[in-house]
């Protein structure tokens, strides 16, 4: 009894304390929220300049309501996606809305999608990153709303009825990375491969890398994939261990966005020079490319994907034929073209 | 050689009854690292007898019993264990169980979160999905059969130490053992419960049960046992048949010398036993109309309107049954339980404290009754346990280790604690020596008021005498002492004045002149019967 009495009242205390901490930390975080404000402003500016470009085609989509429904509105990658969608939509004269959640919870995205449907929608772009979203895609398609899915691929076994599935092809960029590394190391030596985790996309990239290397540079030995994980310090230590396991390693390929930092850090610690290719054109990664510590990063075409998705929507609305599956090209970013990507980041305000 | 006399007969030879001894521990030597707990000890127990095992703290009694229970597996000691004349290798308690041996260990070992019934039936059939209700029904029936006062559905955590002891006994008997081992079962029991236990053991013995009984209370041993083995320093030094029981001889064998007086002489005013209630001098500690709320039943009290006073140099005995509020009273004075009404005076000044820390600072010391639950730190050694309440004086940041060692060594010397070194983990000390460690700690800060709750639980006669002498010496040095004890003889021998609690209230108070075992008991027992009627 004593204990129970003990336990009840303080719940309130607990909530209070949590609230206090929340308040404190949000106060500390106001720097970043001002960033968000800036990015919104730059976005508005760019769209204003391009707004009157569209609207003169045969089939007009002027005023048609389309939505981009996605998670994580503060995530820079997601912001680039939204920017691709928004700018192209403005160009074409759509009445476009970006609906994004604060977190990655699919249920909230579903709610946003339903809301868009009830308010009227002529088309939607949705990254189907979670299978929980499939039923909604199916439902909306059945209701006659054209849907374009982006970035993550929907398995062939699912028949959701969307108009187009547009996404990068891990096999393509995996092979591309193999070609680049093979050339850089002159066709001989050993290459290490690491993944963030053993998920289907990363597996496909790593397998394509290994296969392409075997085919084009048969003298290069590709080691089996190791898991670097997502914790940066542990990843670097893992990569150093990989380097120790084989003295002949001259290059490294990572299928994850942390990869450039992981391998650059490991090469530093081991005092080695490596030809490194990793994923994603984030600012730190671009800096690593520019400084020469990393040879290249794979640029998943997240901006273009979403611009293309808007084109596909227009085609669908105008009754033109739309290809069911499109794989978007993922180019490599090296010192040669790194400036373009800095520009892109500047433009999207991230 | 008398028929029951010393068993000088060679091992395995047919004894008077013609059958081999039910149990035979032959030439057992058991070492713990550098410590030899048993040296070539031989004990033979006949079928259907109650065999007593006595000896000082650390003599090796519990160790011997743990060997018999398979807790120390065969191979970890030298010597042979025979059951019914057949040499057996007991590797685990299960082996002992399979041979019909059940033990009630010295240390409380119950599962606090389970009910009485579950504790009793635990592990006895029922499979993985035991039906708790059925267990409790079986247990209830069994408890009735044993005529114990327990409710099978109560959660064990709510029981007093004496009730927990009864649960452990019931659990052992529930397995219908052929051999029952009782390691100091009575140290936590009241006189009445002890009497009932003895009746039960005799009845079972007449039904063929063999029993080994350990106690430091020689009157109990003399009363219950048929034969007796006496251990000293890990050796069996004497073996007596009932006809030869003689307390002086037993004590002599146990401690290797003659014990003149168990209780120290009283000095000063108390010796001539003035009138009952009032203390002889202005009190060092006074409790006025103190009440403490019941922890579970709202509106009810565990201590009601209790007033008492102790003068410097006095030893006040608090009698009453377990559960009569004695421990709670001490706890409240020590700042452990909140006071509902009334007040505590230390000298002239009112004591307003809310934690044991403040009580310590005010010069109050407490030794609790259950050293396992709230007394000792079993993760630490003797040294750390002794100095625990004294840390601040050993340095504000870094502890003065030299000083700490001195204190611990001094405590070992002063209390004659039997230990290999001051670094020995307290869990490896025998029960009685653990008790001495607690006393040493309470005295480390030189308290002006000392509260002792069952200060000699599990302490051998020799050490008891020392503890009594210590308490008396403290009193003579001006400390006011309050002693709670379930042993009437102890209270009578040690204290100057008496207060008896019943159901949380004072029912009797008297001075030494009017004190008697009968008066103590009647006052306390009346409580029992009346509270039973209430239920």
């Amino acid at each position: 009894m004593w204990e129970q009495d003990h336990g009840r009242r303080p719940w309130r205390l607990a909530l209070l304390a949590i609230a206090a901490i929340l308040a404190l930390v949000t106060a500390a975080g106001c720097g970043s929220s001002s960033d968000d404000g800036d990015s919104a402003a730059t976005g508005a500016q760019t769209t204003a300049t391009t707004a009157d470009a569209g609207g003169e085609k045969e089939c007009s989509v002027e005023g048609k309501k389309i939505q981009f429904v996605a998670p994580l509105k503060s995530n820079p990658t997601m912001q680039v996606m939204a920017a691709g969608f928004e700018q192209r939509a403005k160009e074409l004269g759509f009445d476009a809305t970006v609906l994004m959640t604060d977190d990655a919870e699919p249920q909230r995205i579903l709610a946003l999608g339903q809301q868009a449907m009830t308010q009227g929608s002529d088309g939607m772009v949705i990254p189907p990153y979670d299978a929980a979203l499939y039923p909604f895609i199916k439902q909306a398609s059945a209701a006659g709303i054209p849907i374009i899915t982006t970035h993550s691929s929907v398995p062939d076994s699912e028949d959701l009825g969307m108009k187009q599935d547009i996404h990068p092809d891990p096999a393509q960029y995996g092979a591309e990375a193999a070609r680049a590394i093979g050339e850089q190391i002159g066709g001989r030596g050993t290459v290490a491969v690491t993944q963030g985790g053993f998920n289907p996309i990363e597996n496909a990239a790593a397998e394509a890398f290994t296969a392409a290397m075997k085919e084009q540079y048969p003298d290069v030995k590709v080691l089996k994939s190791q898991v670097e994980g997502f914790e940066p310090a542990a990843a670097i230590s893992k990569a150093v261990s990989v380097l120790q396991s084989d003295g002949s390693i001259v290059a490294a390929y990572s299928t994850t966005g942390g990869g450039p930092r992981t391998w650059a850090g490991a090469a530093d610690q081991a005092g080695k020079r490596l030809v490194i290719i990793g994923m994603d054109y984030t600012r730190p990664n671009l800096d690593l490319v520019r400084s020469g510590k990393v040879y290249a990063v794979v640029a998943q075409p997240i901006y273009e994907e979403h611009a293309d998705a808007v084109d596909a929507l227009k085609a669908a609305i105008c009754g033109e034929p739309v290809e069911a599956e499109v794989s978007a090209e993922s180019p490599l970013v090296t010192t040669d073209n790194v400036d373009e990507y800095y520009d892109l980041l500047d433009r999207t305000g991230t | 050689m008398t028929p029951d006399g010393r068993t000088g007969a060679p091992a395995g030879a047919p004894s008077a009854g013609g059958s081999p001894p039910a149990l035979e521990l032959e030439s057992i030597t058991k070492r713990f690292g550098g410590v030899t707990a048993l040296r070539d000890a031989t004990v033979r127990v006949r079928r259907g007898e109650v065999h007593g095992l006595v000896g000082e703290n650390g003599a090796g009694k519990s160790t011997l019993l743990k060997i018999l229970d398979g807790q120390y597996p065969a191979g970890s000691y030298e010597g042979v264990v025979r059951i019914d004349g057949e040499a057996v290798a007991l590797h685990a308690p299960q082996d002992a169980r399979a041979r019909g041996i059940a033990i009630v260990p010295q240390e409380t070992s119950v599962i606090e979160t389970l009910s009485v019934g579950e504790n009793i039936c635990f592990g006895e059939g029922g499979g993985p999905f035991a039906d708790v209700r059925a267990m409790e029904r079986h247990a209830a029936a069994f408890i009735d059969q044993l005529a114990l006062r327990l409710d099978a559905r109560t959660q064990v955590a709510r029981l007093s130490s004496s009730q927990k002891q009864l649960v452990m006994i019931a659990r052992a008997l529930y397995r219908r053992p052929r051999v029952l081992i009782l390691d100091e079962p009575t140290s936590a029991l009241t006189a009445e419960e002890t009497a009932r236990l003895f009746a039960l053991v005799r009845q079972l013995r007449d039904g063929g049960l063999t029993c080994i009984f350990v106690s430091h209370r020689l009157d109990e041993v003399s009363e219950l046992c048929d034969r007796l083995s006496i251990l000293r320093d890990g050796r069996v030094v004497d073996e007596l048949a009932r006809a030869d029981f003689d307390v002086e001889r037993i004590i002599g064998s146990m401690i290797g010398r003659r014990l003149t007086d168990l209780y120290p002489e009283r000095t000063g005013d108390a010796a001539d036993a003035g009138p009952a209630a009032a203390p002889a001098a202005p009190p060092a500690l006074a409790v006025e109309r103190l009440s403490i709320r019941h922890p579970e039943r709202p509106g009810d009290f565990v201590v009601r309107d209790v007033s008492l006073a102790v003068a410097p140099g006095e030893v006040l005995g608090v009698g009453g049954l377990v559960g009569s509020g004695r421990s709670e009273l001490l706890g409240a004075i020590y700042g452990r339980h909140p006071i509902a009404s009334g007040r505590v005076l230390l000298g002239e000044r009112e004591l307003r404290i809310s934690s044991p820390r403040e009580a310590l600072a005010a010069g109050i010391g407490l030794v609790t009754e259950d050293r396992k639950r709230d007394g000792l730190l079993f993760n630490l050694g003797l040294r750390e346990n002794v100095t625990l309440a004294y840390l601040r004086s050993l340095g504000s940041v870094v502890l003065d280790r030299g000083r700490e060692r001195e204190i611990a060594q001094e405590a070992v010397r002063r209390f004659s604690i039997a230990t290999r070194s001051i670094e020995t983990p307290v869990g490896q000390l025998s029960g009685g020596n653990q008790q001495k460690v607690m006393l040493a700690r309470a005295l480390e800060r030189g308290p002006r008021v000392l509260l002792l709750d069952e200060p000699t639980v599990g302490v051998d006669v020799g050490a008891k005498a020392e503890i009594y002498r210590l308490i008396r010496a403290l009193a003579d040095a001006g400390v006011a002492v309050v002693v709670v004890s379930s042993e009437s003889a102890e209270l009578l021998g040690l204290c100057d004045r008496f207060v008896v609690l019943r159901d949380g209230a004072v029912v009797d108070r008297f001075g030494l002149g009017e004190a008697s075992e009968t008066r103590l008991m009647t006052a306390a027992m009346a409580a029992k019967t009346s509270s039973e009627e209430e239920r």
């Binding site: 205390l13 949000t26 230590s237 893992k238 730190p284 | 407490l366 730190l377």
Partner: protein, 333 residues
């Protein structure tokens, strides 16, 4: 008596002394994990000699420096009878907050670091208050904090690395006397903590409270305060570790410290810290951290299949605990 005289022959005495020495050595709690560590290093070095190459050793030590700093706090907390699952998240939050304060708000680097550590201290305080004063189980409280703090790290950082950081941050990861700063911080902390646990009043109180809270309280120890202090220390050290990782990476990454909580608890338990409280030492705990790092790195170096590595780590962990249990039963200590 006679027996003793018989034994006291010169040869027998030598023998006995040798045996006692061996026995006493085996009683030292850290010996088990130390042996396991030596064996592991030897095996991996045999399989692939480059395991003991300096770069690998340094990398391993540098990695355990981070987890080790967290381990110091966690070990103290577990000894006091509680534990904290939020350490990894607090490290991330500390890193992100320090990064934002120094880059976006232009706070001087030392101040930003101090602010981050203070935030860790505060989170520890909240964990402690909810656990100790309110009486909620540490499992629930710190699990909640694990999610809350990580979530906040994401929110504050906008889900991405806080980058770039002012150049001065590099001094935090510079080499001092040939070793990275983080290693020095770790070594100093570890030494201080180990001595504190063995010799100081605070250390003794932690053991007492973890061993038997009620008994400690009756001996005048303010058990609640002791536990609170341990929680706060754990939070502060976690944030500090996060800041040091941030300095090494040159960016405030909200993914710092991912899964540290379990790695740390597993490691200190392997190193002889009992989850029941009151038992173990900092030295042992850190040997445990080193041991698990050696094993996971050694498996990579000796070319064990990636998918099998977690299985091997788990097996080795359980084996190490089992061996220690046997040692404990045989020799006590």
């Amino acid at each position: 008596m006679e027996e003793r005289r018989v034994r006291a022959t010169p040869g027998g005495a030598d023998d006995a002394r040798a045996r006692r020495l061996l026995y006493q050595t085996l009683r030292v709690p850290e010996v088990g994990i130390l042996l396991a560590l030596v064996v592991a290093v030897a095996v991996f070095a045999l399989v692939n000699p480059s395991f003991v190459a300096w770069a690998n050793i340094e990398s391993n030590v540098r990695t355990i420096a981070f987890i080790g700093i967290v381990g110091v706090g966690q070990a103290m907390l577990i000894i006091a009878g509680e534990f904290d699952l939020s350490v990894g998240s607090v490290a991330a939050l500390g890193a992100v907050v320090a990064a934002i304060l120094m880059s976006d708000h232009g706070l001087p680097i030392p101040l930003a670091v101090i602010a981050a550590v203070a935030l860790g201290l505060l989170i520890g305080l909240v964990n402690g208050l909810l656990t100790v004063k309110v009486g909620l189980p540490a499992l629930i409280v710190t699990l909640g904090m694990l999610f809350a703090a990580r979530g906040l790290a994401y929110v504050i950082s906008g889900g991405t690395q806080v980058y770039p950081l002012p150049d001065g941050v590099r001094t935090l990861s510079d080499r001092v006397l040939g070793l990275p700063m983080a290693i020095w911080v770790f070594v100093v902390l570890a030494l201080v903590a180990d001595v504190a646990m063995r010799r100081s009043g605070f250390g003794r109180r932690l053991y007492a409270v973890g061993g038997n809270r009620e008994a400690a309280q009756l001996a005048g120890i303010r058990a609640d305060r002791v536990k609170l202090a341990a929680f706060m220390l754990t939070g502060a050290l976690a944030a500090l570790a996060g800041v040091l990782v941030m300095a090494q990476l040159g960016s405030g990454d909200p993914q710092i410290g991912m899964n540290w909580e379990l790695a740390v608890i597993a490691a200190v338990v392997v190193g002889g810290i009992s989850l029941r409280g009151g038992v173990g030492s900092i030295a042992g705990a850190l040997l445990g951290v080193l041991f698990l790092q050696v094993v996971s790195s050694g498996l990579v170096v000796s070319g064990v299949e990636a998918t099998l590595q977690p299985v091997a780590v788990g097996t080795v962990m359980i084996a190490a605990l089992g061996i220690d249990q046997v040692r404990h039963r045989r020799f006590g200590g």
